[in-house]
């Protein structure tokens, strides 16, 4: 039989079916608040001493040539709106607080990357002065993220309270009310339009981002311009409403930026001397000190974050929140806890693995505080809160998360307790081992603080939030990175921090 030589070239192109994925919040209707909260101008502020700390000039009369020119600009846009412009109007009309929160979560996920080691085994530190060099600034780990969410939410709240104060003072009607030929493409409301609440949000958020995400100043400015143009094109606000709003927002942000520069977060990384001291202190208490389990060993994550100035808790309160110590690292109790961690990890069920993955919120994600922002936003959407109430509720949540981070990091470095894997190397974890001490669990604290304040804001969901918090805490035990006691004590302290937010909520004039 003759041998046959053959050659064949196969080309297969897999043409795709329609598999485009759309955002869960992409098709939201315009925000139509059930209550405009017209008294919000007198709600209790967070940082500003008065709602009129920053003056907003009296607007031109709606009969003035300046205002007529503003209306003509809107009419000019509305006469020839493109599909893309309509999409932008639709996007922003769902609510400025929601959209900026989503943008923040995206950025947090993008920047949640630990620096890679140098060839000599040391680690480079992100540098705010040079955000485009490697490693990128910031490394938005959970404490960084908690603080960033809190600053933006708190500043948005103060800025909107000031905005509401001037809205009710000047009482300028919306453009579509003054001129019936202007369409209300983002829905109608009874809220006065000067200064524009959307532009206040754009201004306050963009200004804060300069400190928090210095590498994103350009993209944030783009979002600001997009939102402001959407406000004008939709007939919601005039150019003068927007200009006044943005200026007010930026001024309020400056006050928060000044606080941020002096809140000790810049020093939270500590020095090699601080890191060595943590080991010495633990050894002086006859405890096995925590060790980084990364290769090469990485310096502990933000060991001085416990010294950051919280919004709800002062430094004395942070010390008072400290629970008693975990069992001694040489005690029989600790052996038992470690053995329990080993036994949990040996045969994980599929359900346990799902829970570990769902709550991991590790590298490249918006972190546990971001996860709770997502949970909150999903529920707030159904409540049709006014923008100022949206901001207030997120500020309460995020101040609780930031103070939970401060308290948790204070406790972690006060006790400097090793992770289960350090005491028993047989423990193979189901997720990455966080590079900071074990006691108490950050997930447990973040989740219980969040569940406590969210359960106060939406009492009907309190049990559901509690169940989620419990599952989030359990996920760390199933993953083999925490002892049970870390999560149980974390629950108690987390609830205590959450209660400080609840106390504020009952007294801020919004309930």
């Amino acid at each position: 039989m003759k041998p046959l030589i053959y050659a064949a070239l196969l080309l297969a192109v897999f043409s795709a079916c329609n598999k485009s994925v759309s955002d869960r919040t992409a098709d939201l209707p315009p925000l139509q608040p059930a209550n405009q909260d017209l008294t919000a101008g007198s709600w209790k502020l967070i940082l500003l001493s008065r709602p009129d700390t920053f003056p907003v000039a009296t607007p031109a009369a709606t009969t003035s040539p300046l205002y007529i020119a503003d209306l003509n600009e809107i009419k000019g846009y509305q006469a020839r709106l493109t599909g893309d412009q309509r999409d932008k109007i639709k996007y922003w009309s769902a609510g400025g607080v929601l959209r900026w929160n989503e943008i923040m979560r995206d950025l947090m996920a993008k920047y949640n990357l630990a620096p890679y080691q140098n060839p000599d085994g040391s680690y480079p530190a992100p540098n705010a002065a040079n955000p485009f060099a490697y490693p990128q600034f910031p490394f938005s780990n959970p404490p960084y993220a908690a603080r960033a969410y809190a600053y933006v939410s708190a500043a948005q709240y103060d800025a909107l309270v000031a905005c509401w104060r001037y809205k009710t003072q000047y009482n300028r009607p919306a453009p579509y009310k003054v001129d019936s030929s202007i369409q209300a493409l983002a829905g109608k409301s009874t809220l006065p339009s000067y200064p524009s609440e959307g532009a206040v949000l754009a201004g306050v958020t963009a200004e804060l981002m300069q400190l928090l995400f210095p590498g994103e100043v350009a993209s944030i400015q783009q979002k600001l311009e997009e939102q402001e143009l959407a406000l004008i094109m939709s007939g919601t606000a005039t150019r003068s409403d927007v200009t006044a709003g943005e200026a007010l927002g930026r001024q309020v942000a400056e006050a928060f930026l000044a606080r941020g520069r002096a809140d000790n977060a810049g020093k939270a990384g500590g020095t090699p001397a601080d890191w060595a001291n943590l080991v010495t202190v633990a050894q002086s208490k006859n405890q096995i000190p925590w060790l980084s389990l990364e290769g090469p060993a990485r310096p502990p994550q933000l060991p001085l974050f416990g010294k950051v100035k919280g919004f709800l808790c002062d430094s004395a309160t942070i010390v008072a929140l400290r629970p008693g110590p975990p069992p001694s690292t040489s005690s029989a109790d600790m052996k038992e806890e470690t053995l329990a961690a080993y036994n949990t990890i040996k045969n994980p069920t599929r359900e346990q693995m799902r829970i570990v993955q769902f709550w991991a919120d590790g590298v490249g994600t918006y972190t546990p505080p971001g996860h709770w922002n997502a949970i909150a936003a999903e529920d707030f959407i159904t409540k049709n809160f006014s923008e100022v109430r949206w901001a207030r509720n997120l500020a309460l949540l995020n101040m609780a998360e930031m103070d939970a981070a401060i308290s948790c990091w204070d406790i972690k470095y006060y006790y400097f307790n090793p992770r289960p894997t350090q005491l028993d190397p047989r423990i193979k974890t189901l997720t990455g081992i966080p590079n900071f001490p074990s006691y108490v669990s950050g997930h447990s604290m973040f989740s219980w603080a969040a569940a406590t304040i969210l359960g106060h804001i939406i009492p009907g969901r309190a049990n559901a939030y509690g169940a989620m918090a419990q599952e989030a805490a359990n996920s760390r035990i199933y993953a083999g990175i925490h002892y049970e006691i870390d999560c149980n004590v974390g629950m108690t302290v987390g609830k205590n921090v959450g209660n400080y937010a609840v106390q504020r909520a009952t007294k801020d004039g919004a309930e």
Binding site: A7, F14, V21, V363, G364
Partner: protein, 112 residues
Amino acid sequence: MHLTNKVDMPDMISFNFRTGYRSNRLVLEAVLSNMITLGGLDIRKNDMPFPSNKMNATMMGGHFRYDLPVIKRLSLTGGAAFTIAGRNVGQATSFDAGVYYILDFSPKKKQK
């Protein structure tokens, strides 16, 4: 993307070039295959991978099939391939081996 359990996946092109020797019982071939992702993002330094990452690879290998003379309808196959170039993929070397047995359901032809 927020709170969605779906991923926008990029399309891909895959092609391979095969050449070799074929006799009554033996098929021997060399395989060069290539996979290109149209779109998708690189894995960043120290980041986690994601299903929609760009994954390109060129693999080189060989493959054979041999029909056993002793038992009719039974043949053995096997091969190996290794990755000679790639992006966001592991440099994998793979081996495969198999046994084929043909189940003949067609009506029996009369023997000559």
